[in-house]
Symmetry: C2
Subunit: 294 residues, 2 copies
């Protein structure tokens, strides 16, 4: 009955621990194939991504060699994009470039991106203030999703990607999300996840987890004390929601070498203030409680 779609699961490969080794960029360009997607429409978007990375014109033949896709397929895709005004053929009818419509789309996307921009600004400010990496999280399905993240500048740090997901039972935000659910909801959710062990601190026993959740609920903040990754301490609060329960979390993460529980607690006021700012941003950007206009 698992209807889980393909997602970035918490593959620990992604969660590179950069200890005394900052900025190790893999940067190996395969130069081979790049287009993928489970559906034709997504393949088209994938093609657009390849195109978006070009700062020069390109030809059908060139793309064929670059992506490995059959020529008629690519031809159809390009033709489709061209008649839609997303691409334009230049001069000799052989070289393509981006079209007005595509550029306008990109411009609008970035221009109207006020929410992410504002949130990100709050996050940056917070990181600057307390000196450790912070992220905004949300409950997505049965897992905690990293919506945005700003890394600290300190040389020793954990490097995590926005977009990756971690289990609820061993993350600070996850425990907060659980704590504010109705018991019935929580039970349903927990029934679908296995309390997998990641470290010796991971709470794999349901009753222990319930206890912890109770504690978290009354305290209003949660720790993840090396429960997911060894050496990683995290403290989180909820971003208060306008109506109903919140599903946004704000967390600070740091290596235990530098971040103790006490120090983490001292960040709470700053954390709460930032959460409040994010709540204000979101309230403004949410199209109102009731549904529609005329």
């Amino acid at each position: 009955m698992l209807s889980i779609k393909f997602r970035n699961y918490y593959n620990l490969d992604q969660i590179t621990t950069c200890i005394e080794n900052i900025a190790m960029k893999p940067d190996m360009k395969p130069e081979i194939a790049k287009i993928d997607g489970d559906t034709p429409a997504l393949r088209l978007l994938s093609l657009l991504e390849v195109i978006a990375e070009k700062d020069r014109f390109f030809t059908l033949q060139g793309l064929v060699e670059e992506t490995g896709l059959p020529k008629p397929t690519l031809h159809r895709m390009l033709q489709q994009l061209e008649t839609a005004g997303m691409l334009q053929r230049d001069g000799d009818n052989r070289h393509y470039g981006t079209g007005v419509r595509l550029r306008r789309l990109a411009e609008n996307l970035l221009l109207n991106n006020t929410v992410q921009g504002a949130r990100h600004a709050v996050l940056s400010q917070l990181v600057k203030e307390i000196g450790e990496s912070c992220n905004i999280t949300a409950l997505s399905g049965n897992e905690v999703l990293y919506l945005d993240r700003v890394e600290t500048q300190a040389p020793l740090r954990f490097y995590l990607h926005p977009g990756s997901q971690v289990p609820v039972h061993c993350s600070a935000s996850g425990k907060l999300f659980l704590a504010q659910m109705k018991p019935a909801q929580r039970r349903r959710l927990l029934a679908h996840v296995s309390l997998e062990r990641f470290t010796h601190n991971t709470l794999t026993d349901l009753s222990l987890l319930e206890e912890e959740i109770e504690r978290v609920g009354s305290a209003g903040h949660a720790f993840d004390d090396e429960e997911f990754l060894p050496g990683l301490l995290c403290i989180a609060v909820l971003v208060p929601a306008a109506r109903g329960r919140s599903n946004l979390g704000l967390a600070v993460q740091g290596p235990t070498m530098r971040l103790s529980r006490e120090k983490a607690l001292s960040f709470l006021p700053a954390l709460r203030e930032a959460a409040q700012s994010i709540a204000a941003i979101d309230a403004e950007a949410t199209p109102d409680g009731n549904a529609s206009a005329s």
Copy 2:
């Protein structure tokens, strides 16, 4: 045997003549339906355009009301975009926002848009220099396509959209394109177009057009002296191509009230210089004469 796809034809509605009435923006928002496209993939892009215009979060239900699309259809589309990382659900699992991947796509599109940017800069400079609207054109199929355009600041002016198309036989650039073709090619092209009359200056007779084309070919520049729109004079030159024949034109347009043939001729040196700059830009952005790498 006409395999012409749907395009922005030269509907004269688009070609608004703004005389003593600058900046009349229609700006009527239908608020009704917006999604269209001949294929599922294009409909998805169209949906992205709707989304891109939002600066707030949106819900499935909201989009249903806004676009009129059936709920399961929209649900599927959003789900598809979400699993691809193009969208992210926020907090309550009900509001969507743009995802990292979509934002990166938009950024890349705009960042690597050096060619259009550079061309546009040349165009702006030219307009500033000579004080009349200028555009870059290309031959697309059997018609002349406006690739880019910069309007003059003068109050009296013709307002034309980049992306629109005009017939070859009554545009300055069109005649230039025809002039540099091999006779056989030209004959083939002209066989597929009707020399429609737009004004009393329009060349609707094939032999007269051939004469004009000869003249244009040896002069290296072409006029459109009220042959398409009454009151519109235009002079064009070709953007020289690295190899083979050029398919890019550069043109100045102005109302006859202000722009005479003599004055237009005086712009030729500036026009030629700008064309040269554009040629240099394009040469650099064209992935080389021969095809592939290893």
